[in-house]
Symmetry: C2
Subunit: 425 residues, 2 copies
Amino acid sequence: MSSTATPVNLASYASEVATAAQAASRALATATGEQKNGWLGRSAELLRKKSAEILAANAIDVAAAPGFGLSAAAIDRLKLTPARLASAASALEQIAALPDPVGEVIEGSVRPNGLAVTRVRVPLGVVFFIYESRPNVTVDAAGICVKSGNAVILRGGKEALHSNQALHGVLREALEAVDLPGACVQLVETTDRAAVGHFLKLHDRISVTIPRGGKSLIERVVAEATMPVIKHYDGICHVYVDRSADVEMAREIVVNSKCQRPGVCNAAECLLVHREIAAEFLPLVTRDLRSRGVELRCCERSLPLVAGGRAASELDFHTEFLDLILAIRIVDDVGQAINHIETHSSHHTDAIVTSDLTSAGRFTSGVDSAAVIVNASTRFNDGGEFGLGAEIGISTDKFHARGPCGLRELTSYKYIVQGSGQVRS
Amino acid sequence: MSSTATPVNLASYASEVATAAQAASRALATATGEQKNGWLGRSAELLRKKSAEILAANAIDVAAAPGFGLSAAAIDRLKLTPARLASAASALEQIAALPDPVGEVIEGSVRPNGLAVTRVRVPLGVVFFIYESRPNVTVDAAGICVKSGNAVILRGGKEALHSNQALHGVLREALEAVDLPGACVQLVETTDRAAVGHFLKLHDRISVTIPRGGKSLIERVVAEATMPVIKHYDGICHVYVDRSADVEMAREIVVNSKCQRPGVCNAAECLLVHREIAAEFLPLVTRDLRSRGVELRCCERSLPLVAGGRAASELDFHTEFLDLILAIRIVDDVGQAINHIETHSSHHTDAIVTSDLTSAGRFTSGVDSAAVIVNASTRFNDGGEFGLGAEIGISTDKFHARGPCGLRELTSYKYIVQGSGQVRS
């Protein structure tokens, strides 16, 4: 399908794409690891070989980007460079090096009647992946889906269409080279927003939808999807500094959690401090933070201790700033810290700094977040940091997948039962 | 709330129940195994002690049942006897004996930077369980939910309201005895069907809905639910008898799969037979089946081999009969059998009878069903038979839980990270 033609009938276009994906997913489910790794390697090779072509396609998108109203930062994310392309290629090779999740025996036992029951990992089937303008995500997502045995339907941002078409061309060429169906990796070729709605109806063929983007995108997908959605909502992450915290350690962790990359979901948005350490700790840490340009929004009790701070509103304790802003609150004890977090956190990532074993234990058992961290930065909640090898997002759900989603999170399982004629009485 | 009063405002009633359940679930998430097992034991004790009371309440329901238009079979399912009550009490004791899934360390490792990352099992939170008239399900479901650390909202059939109230009274009394919140187990006291719709909107407080009943109930719940649903759709299960099958074994497996309990989801609905064994096998097995009253609906090729058979329609190969009816089709080879199953099966349970290793391997890898069985009856796809110890249903989903759902399937996990001051660079 050409890049400019909008399919006349979006419903039947979506249906055709999904049907082809489902058929491809059946072939992919029983493909060998060698075949899948062969595709990853071949794709990496072609990305390098055809980089001039890909960069030329990307230049078209970049040139058109101001017309789409993209900010300078967004245009930077859209832009492919030889280094970024090389890193996309290496990422595929890293995925190839990961163990194949498909066929993994999760557990197994022999029942008293002699039946051998094993639970074996299988792919989910077809992934519908919706994302925004970074074109290297096209390569990454396709790599993770195919390695985990899933066919993928990629729906990138309209601003990146030419880049995505060039990248998809390479991925598809590599599929042919290893004798896998081309429909293992499909790109939605229309930029019509209505197309997404048609895909979201096809729960009979699409196993899961993964939207990666702003809250409004995720909300739209959740409202319309008829299949499961792996959601990646906001991160309102906390650092709680306990009475017994090592002050130097706490300063480093708070500054890193807030400032190392403030625009991402696992950056801290709120600092909770035990009242007995507040008078010592807050002046020190807030000096560190202010020197890095952080705006400090303080509760009534903490305000007098924070030079340059201003009074926080209740809303500040429910906000994902994604910016150099930090809400600060003094709490009476670890119990109050846990209660604050259970009420205000988005259950993404919350950390405690403490040297007290009881406080650490209460915190890790009482805080119900995807990642609960003791004496380290919130920024560690990440597939790479946790050793998953690759990630397609960080789930804020508790159902199916929680926290970083790697290869395993894109799988299901089946029971395989080996008997010798057993019947049930 | 009294048994007869319909709450004036169903929306606020549902909201109050869900809020109480969520608060209780927080307490339950950190309850010890001793507390939960104490509740199970105390409940079992009270079920025995108060059996006269419970049976009297049940007698009211049974007397009123014909007025609800219940069939004799349905009234039998509704009826509690001393033996059935004793078995409900034992079931709770068996659940107490199972290992506590909460807190299980699923995996863990130390990252190169010294962070110890563990993945630990936690409860989902609040389960909304909708079921039909068997009152012992009230006890069973509550036991499984609480043991797995989840608060449960029970919505039983209106025909069983008095029985469920009596049983729920016992379960609640036992909660008090072990100092767990009464809202760990709540019963929806109104029989107004509209109440369900209000609960299905509360995805902020209810983690998962499990409907157990007919297809129309599940479809209604799926259409209205705003939270995940563990679905238990139909079982269109197959037995494929390969060329190399042991004929005697195959006869027993087919007869058991079809006849041992034809009204349940893991009973076989379709027999596929390799063409090279059909002339020998079909006359034998269909004689066995006919002697058990099974109606045989045959494809064109098998019809001449089946005395008393009649021609199958295409629809017969897509039907869950839940009755003594079997569709029969001859296939050319295991590949055709797999294709038939992948097209017609509901992906619940499918079996092969074979003595050929290659056929067995192709079947187990090519058939994507919750349970794929070699040389045993389809009837084994069951939580008890698989060693799960207790089950709240059999999921036909691939997302989150597949096949029998026991304690583990009602859990999520969180990452607990132990550091010593690490920050991200």
